[in-house]
């Protein structure tokens, strides 16, 4: 373990995954004790990443698989014109770098949205373990499948839904994921820029802010700085639910 990782703001730095407060959320929870033992030996815990620093770049040979320990990370691709296309946001307990499993190169970029910490598993060791562990394979398949489902939902969001539904879906997704982390699902910080949110949802920055302002006026949410409070959860859920009912019929927004 590096010296840096012990300078933790979160309190005492854990020495094994079982001690980690995110254990229940992390893929490490679902593998066998022996495998965890293995990972405990090679894992670099709580590596600090400063805001705006990259975890990896697109095209780069994969060195590690990372789990967000604290903070948040965005992933993005570059278009042929060199424009950034935001593809996802990663919260504590979520795993990054699986995009490199097939080619051993990262297909996209990952950048910290705030001062964050990650747990790093050397990529080669991870691949070796994958080859010998059916349990780890199973867990990875599940994670990849979940990520695929989310990507499909994003395609739907960007392609077909009106601005309100897109924003509501985004807020609900953040809220749901935070709730899983035992955090208040009705109060969370949006650590990404509004440009990132707009880019991710395929909206202009003006539309994102206008939509959030409208939701605030209707007392569905309250926004203060980066902090969002959900005031009327049923209303927000209903807006997001339209995906399944009328969403497909709605004109592009």
């Amino acid at each position: 373990m590096s010296d840096k990782a012990t300078i933790s703001e979160i309190g005492q730095s854990e020495t094994s995954c079982e001690d980690c407060s995110l254990f229940n959320l992390c893929f490490a929870h679902d593998i066998s004790a022996d495998e965890r033992e293995e990972i405990n030996k090679i894992l670099k815990r709580q590596q600090p990443v400063e805001r705006s620093d990259h975890l990896f770049h697109g095209g780069q040979a994969a060195k590690t698989v990372s789990v967000v320990r604290s903070g948040s990370v965005k992933s993005y691709q570059l278009s042929h014109e060199g424009d950034e296309i935001v593809s996802g946001f990663y919260l504590p307990g979520e795993i990054l770098g699986l995009d490199a499993l097939s080619s051993e190169k990262h297909s996209g970029f990952a950048m910290a949205l705030e001062d964050s910490r990650t747990c790093e598993i050397p990529f080669k060791d991870f691949v070796t373990m994958l080859q010998s562990s059916p349990k780890l394979n199973q867990v990875m398949l599940r994670l990849l499948s979940e990520e695929m489902a989310e990507t499909r939902e994003l395609l739907l969001v960007v392609g077909r839904l009106d601005a309100r539904t897109r924003v509501a879906l985004f807020l609900m997704s953040m809220s749901r994921r935070l709730a899983r982390r035992n955090q208040d699902p009705d109060q969370f910080r949006l650590t990404m820029d509004r440009r990132d949110i707009a880019n991710y949802l395929g909206l202009t920055i003006e539309t994102v802010s206008r939509t959030l302002s409208a939701l605030q006026r209707e007392e569905v949410i309250e926004v203060r700085g980066k902090l969002v409070r959900v005031l009327d959860r049923p209303a927000l859920e209903e807006m997001a639910m339209r995906v399944d009912e009328t969403g497909r019929r709605q004109a592009t927004g």
Partner: protein
Amino acid sequence: MSELIRPTFDVDLIDRYGGEGPRYTSYPTAVQFSERFGPESLLTAIDESNRLPIPADLSLYVHVPFCSSPCFYCGCNRVITRSETAGDEFLDTLAREIALIAPGFDSDRKVRQLHLGGGTPTFLSLEQLSRLMGMLRENFTFAADGELGLEVDPRTVDPAGIKYLYELGFNRISIGVQDLDPAVQTAVNRVQDTAMVSATIGAARAVGFESISVDLIYGLPLQTTAGFAQTVDTVISLKPDRLSLFNYAHLPHLFKGQTRIKTEQLPTPAVKLAIFRNTLNRLLEAGYEFIGMDHFALPGDSMVKARTNGTLVRNFQGYSTHGGLDLVSFGPSAISQIGDSFAQNQRKLPDWRIAIEHEGHPATCRGLTRTTDDRVRADIIERIMCTGQLIYADMERFFQLSFRSYFSDELQRLEALADDGLIEWCTGGFKVTAAGMMYLRAIAKIFDAYLMPHRQQQGRFSRIV
């Protein structure tokens, strides 16, 4: 809608709570600004402010630093000149300052407020003011229903000029009256007869200004209770929508111009108190509501509405009806507040000009970025000053803290104020009483982390009453 509390004035409390205190137009106050905060820090703060989910709309301030003659009481940053070219030269630099700063703001951030202060904004000719407005409108997007105001020296603008200002888009006007007694006016070097003041207010009302505000100052040389009562009665008859009653702070060691005021002509503390008490009572009797500190307004005015429904805020211009805006300020000594950052420009006109014209960067010379502790305390102080009450759960909602343990020292120190009847405890918080309304700053001060007893602050802040 709750009834506004009408303050009572308890002279017995004045020894204990009428001492010095910051006016809390910001927290931390400008005393805490550091020179480590420079032009780069301002530009970073602007960039950060665009990134929020809902970036704040804007309030603009322009400091016009000129006066053609010195009012001796004045503590503002200004240059006394009769130069014909000063105005245009100032606007040339201002144009460059705007060009350095305005493009940093995303274009969907609308200007909801504009205020011109000084100095004397109407030192500028009507053509120059028109040029100034053109510059601002070219570089910022103005909301259709924005509040556009300026300070007017009645000696510099005639009724036709007032109409022209309205046509430029101004809908709020603030008129410096101070005192109508000719003897006092001579002693402070600001002679303007009542007919002139009355004509200015009349013209502003006739052309449709939405809010007309008048400033009075008590504690000026040669003031008497009878003389000031006469001024107050005349002003009441002119029915300004808002009225500010400032306490003259005689600090000649800080403000050179004040050395020309003869100390022996200043009213005694007892006379000052009597003037204040009489004026307070007279204004309340005439139907004015007390907003807080030194501000009064008629019931129909937006400031009374804001005070009643809890949307009143404090900023560098005093009380304001519009919260949640980033303040972008131009001109020498002007202070911007972008998100949690304060940035003050070079105070002196030449230094301000050199930074912009020759060095080509914003003229920021000092400032600070608030810590989380600063933000909590700023919020608490603003609530005390603007709503007269504090509910702890409101703080806990936005800041992750347990109010009673985080502020246990402060709550203990508030006990003495509760015993003296300045505040009363209520469910989950406390309320300022009618007697406490006169001492809002003394109550707010309890939460000021920078006012520890060991710090030397004496003589830097004006008296509370």
